[in-house]
């Protein structure tokens, strides 16, 4: 691990390990408790593979009651808990801790109810994102958010990370597609939020839970909206001599009232890497390539394809190809979808960043990245969810060269600082986790972070759930709870006079 400090492991907990294992075995019988080092190896990392850590013990409950009893036990005995779905987090959200129980939800893998007339599915959190779509597609339905790991990532993890994907420009993020949750608090209490109906009364705890990165509660059931699959989809592949022109094309498409199903941009290094890898037919003489997908009724898609093509040409496109068949559409996407492995071919290792910026700042940020690339002597390739301003710079490095990971991480941090500086944010869809934890103060001041931690305190006042993630420093709830205002020390001690 380079430079990352995790909370100091609690020796007292580690010395009680055999007691903890025994207690967990009384709650989850059989193979549901894993304490052998070799078997725990499978869980030592998530999608952020630069970091590895064996957990104290792994527990794989099968029922809500087991989850509740495990959490209650841990709460009563001050044992930390790291929840985990499929372990595909790209920010280290499911990275185990040496002194924490790793609570793996993969055995919660059943689809509980599919309700077509009310367009809802109720599933257990270990069901994969794609698994929901697979269960309803024979009726022409699907679940809209589609993170690129959708074949493996679990819906519970999607809730924890507020997962997005290529299609969230039009269909929204996880937060916009989840109707209800059942969750277990660290005390073992089971709480339901929402349901198959819309909204719930009271505070928007569903909104707070979505994207909370496993720090607030453990999700045991998810109700999601399912949608009718669009009748058809076609894509355009539009090449531009400059990223400015490509950026203007994106702005003009949106301004015309068109919300494409997907709108992706790649820069020259990404185009070349992808083309060399999958031979998608990408033009190699352009600086920026847009893939714009329109979906919906055939009539609408045809109408919009013409509009987008005209907008592209007006903005100086040098190539503009419209898919004429499903095969051709898939070919356009093949390069974009293979961008990460393609970059993996031209570099031993790469770091994937995830900032979001106001779209108009793209040329400035790309220029800034080129300067940083020179400064650090590392290459960078960019793929970009252009419609919503979510950048994925891929920083190329070689872990076998001493200090190069460290250099790549510094480069990445500088890119994210640049994103924040132009009005953007540290992470658009991958989460803060451990990866961007120490950058949080770039975006938030102490008061901002304290109020977020106070939300944590309302759910988990002992900071037992997933500690060491998201917040650079977890201040004690009692300390944060103190009030600092006293009579006589405020500006208007008397009658208000505004």
């Amino acid at each position: 691990m380079s430079g990352l400090t995790m909370p100091k492991a609690d020796e007292a907990t580690m010395s009680r390990r055999s007691d903890i294992v025994a207690a967990l075995r009384t709650i989850v019988p059989g193979e549901g408790v894993v304490d052998v080092t070799n078997e725990m190896r499978a869980f030592e990392t998530d999608g952020l593979t630069a970091y590895r850590q064996l957990p104290l013990v792994v527990v794989l409950p099968q029922t809500v009651q087991q989850v509740s009893r495990v959490l209650q036990y841990c709460h009563e005995n001050n044992v930390k808990v790291v929840p985990r779905g499929s372990g595909t987090s790209l920010s280290g959200g499911a990275l185990p801790l040496e002194d924490a129980v790793l609570l793996v939800m993969s055995r919660f893998n059943r689809i509980l109810e599919i309700d077509y007339p009310n367009r809802a599915a109720v599933v257990q959190p270990g069901v994969t994102n794609l698994g929901i779509t697979k269960a309803v597609e024979h009726e022409g339905f699907y679940y809209a958010p589609d993170p690129s790991s959708q074949i493996a990532c679990s819906i519970g993890g999607n809730v924890a990370e507020n997962a997005g994907g290529v299609h969230c420009l039009k269909y929204g993020l996880t937060a916009n597609n989840v109707l209800g949750l059942e969750m277990v608090l660290i005390t073992g209490e089971v709480v339901r939020l929402g349901g198959k109906h819309l909204d719930s009364e009271g505070y928007d705890l569903l909104g707070l839970m979505t994207g909370s990165e496993g720090l607030l509660a453990v999700v045991t059931e998810v109700s999601v909206r399912i949608l009718q699959k669009p009748t058809t989809a076609r894509a355009l592949m539009i090449g531009f001599p400059t990223s400015e022109e490509a950026g203007q094309c994106v702005a003009d498409v949106i301004a015309a009232g068109i919300i494409p199903g997907g709108m992706e941009m790649m820069d020259r290094p990404a185009i070349h890497a992808a083309e060399d890898f999958v031979h998608a037919g990408y033009p190699l003489d352009v600086e920026a390539l847009l893939i714009v997908e329109l979906d919906g009724p055939v009539v609408e898609v045809d109408h919009l394809i013409n509009m987008v093509e005209a907008i592209g040409r007006r903005n100086g496109a040098t190539t503009c190809v419209v898919s004429q068949s499903e095969e051709e559409r898939m070919a356009f996407w093949a390069g974009r979808k293979a961008a990460f492995p393609a970059v993996g071919r031209i570099s031993p290792d790469y770091l994937c960043m995830d900032g979001t910026i106001p779209r108009k700042e793209l040329p400035k940020v790309l220029a800034g990245m080129r300067e940083l690339s020179d400064k650090y002597g590392l290459r960078v390739a960019n793929v970009f969810h252009a419609g919503d301003g979510n950048l994925h710079p891929l920083i190329l490095y070689d872990a076998n060269i001493p200090e190069e990971l460290h250099k790549a991480e510094d480069f990445g941090a500088d890119i994210l600082r640049l994103c924040v500086k132009v009005g953007g944010v540290l992470t658009g869809e991958h989460g803060v986790g451990v990866e961007k934890r120490d950058l949080m103060p770039e975006m938030f001041n102490e008061a901002d972070l304290n109020q977020q931690i106070r939300v944590k305190c309302a759910f988990d006042d002992k900071h037992l759930l997933n500690p060491g993630k998201v917040f650079p420093q977890l201040r004690r709830c009692a300390e944060l709870g103190r009030m600092h205002v006293h009579r006589g020390q405020v500006p208007f001690p008397d009658i208000p006079r505004f």
């Binding site: 339901r192 349901g195 819309l198 928007d204 009718q228 109408h303 106001p358 505004f498």
Partner: protein, 403 residues
């Protein structure tokens, strides 16, 4: 009785700090247009955000708008409309239902009550469109959350946390929303004469088709006469809005007509009528009768909601109409709100929640206006309130007694 009207963010901080120092609970309002919603307050002082208004950022190309909490919604809707844009979640206006003029609400009130409209079932509500907030908590501390970009998972989403919090957690001073282009054209398909259960089935078929229906409502016969100057002729009317680019609207409307042919005869309303009709459905115009007769807003699973109405009708005089594919029921009671009966039936028919949106103040003080929560959830909500407003000075008891 003092009303504090701060004109800068710093004055809002100072006002809350003053209230804290005095341990004086305050009512928080914009212009007071929703004072008759929720539980009535008994506070000596009021903080009115009406003096803290104005757009701070509007970039139509970036689909983003920031404004101070006291900015009137009427002003914002005019501004974005001039640029061919709108708040896609179609925020309703409670004014007419509550016997007040329309167009009196503020942006802060919109977020605090999580407004939405008929497009809720496709586009979500205020909480789905808010991108960032600046807030003064009940601790008298200013904090921010979110930002100005659509895709953002940096830290907890306290912007959503402020939605539907009724001013009990903090005072949002400045709010950033996503805005979107207004659909180029729209039409509404009307199916006549369906009973409530038949309408629910027809709407489920339409919503489950590729027709991309952007609103689905059902007005029973006794309600249908009270919109668009009686132009629906008082026949039960099931309404499906189709919107978007003209060729697509024509195509989808045609498809839906075919799909629903067996349900009944399908007419299409022209654009202007359609727009007016949905505004009136949105603002519950059929029950805007200048009375205080109790009105419930009930959210349930669409295929169950009509059963609640049928059961209620057996025991009480009830007027009802449906939005959101039938899942949102607006219920007007003749006399007693029948709170226990309404809520028991919701539990019988698949769950959901009921809000008593109109009733005399004495009734709203005595009955739970919002759906009562199970103990662990109520306790969690209370802990959240304490983390934001430990002294309980902001709108105490607005949602739940003691919170």
């Amino acid at each position: 009785m003092t009303t504090i009207t701060p004109t800068t963010e710093n004055e809002i901080v100072e006002a809350v700090q003053w209230a804290l120092a005095e341990q004086a609970p305050v009512e928080v309002i914009g212009y007071g247009s929703k004072r008759d919603l929720g539980r009535p307050l008994q506070t000596e002082h009021t903080i009115a955000l009406s003096g803290y208004a104005g757009v701070t950022l509007y970039e139509p190309d970036e689909l983003v708008l920031s404004a101070r909490a006291g900015t009137p919604m009427a002003e914002l809707e005019t501004l974005v409309a001039e640029n061919g844009q709108a708040f896609q979640f179609e925020p309703m206006d409670y004014g007419p239902l509550l016997g007040q003029p329309a167009g009196q609400g503020s942006l802060g009130g919109l977020l605090a009550t999580n407004l939405c409209g008929p497009r809720r079932l496709k586009a979500g509500s205020a909480r789905d469109h808010v991108l960032g907030v600046r807030v003064v908590s009940g601790r008298g501390e200013l904090f921010k959350s979110g930002g100005r970009v659509v895709k953002n998972v940096t830290g907890y989403d306290l912007s959503k946390g402020m939605a539907n919090s009724w001013g009990t957690l903090g005072i949002a001073t400045e709010i950033t929303f996503k805005v979107l282009p207004t659909p180029e054209t729209e039409t509404t398909l009307v199916i006549r004469g369906l009973a409530d259960d038949e309408a629910a089935r027809a709407m489920a078929i339409a919503m489950g088709s590729s027709g991309e229906v952007a609103a689905a409502a059902h007005l029973p016969g006794n309600v249908a006469g009270r919109v668009i100057d009686g132009a629906l002729n008082g026949a039960a009317s099931t309404l499906l809005r189709v919107e978007g680019f003209a060729p697509s609207v024509a195509d989808r409307a045609g498809m839906l007509k075919g799909l629903l042919a067996t349900a009944g005869e399908v007419d299409a309303l022209p654009q202007e009528t359609s727009r007016r009709l949905w505004r009136e459905v949105r603002d519950v115009i059929p029950f805007a009768d200048a009375t205080e007769r109790p009105v419930w807003r009930v959210s349930m699973v669409p295929m169950q909601a009509y059963k609640l109405v049928a059961s209620l009708r057996m025991g009480a005089a009830v007027d009802a109409f449906y939005d959101w594919q039938g899942g949102l029921v607006w219920l007007r009671m003749e006399g007693d709100p029948e709170a226990e009966a309404v809520r028991a039936l919701i539990r019988t028919y698949g769950g959901g929640h009921a809000t008593l949106v109109r009733a005399p103040a004495s009734v709203r003080a005595a009955l739970p206006v919002f759906e009562p929560q199970p103990a662990p959830l109520a306790a969690l909500s209370k802990r959240l309130k304490q983390q934001f407003d430990p002294s309980g000075i902001l709108n105490p008891g607005r949602m739940v007694a003691g919170v």
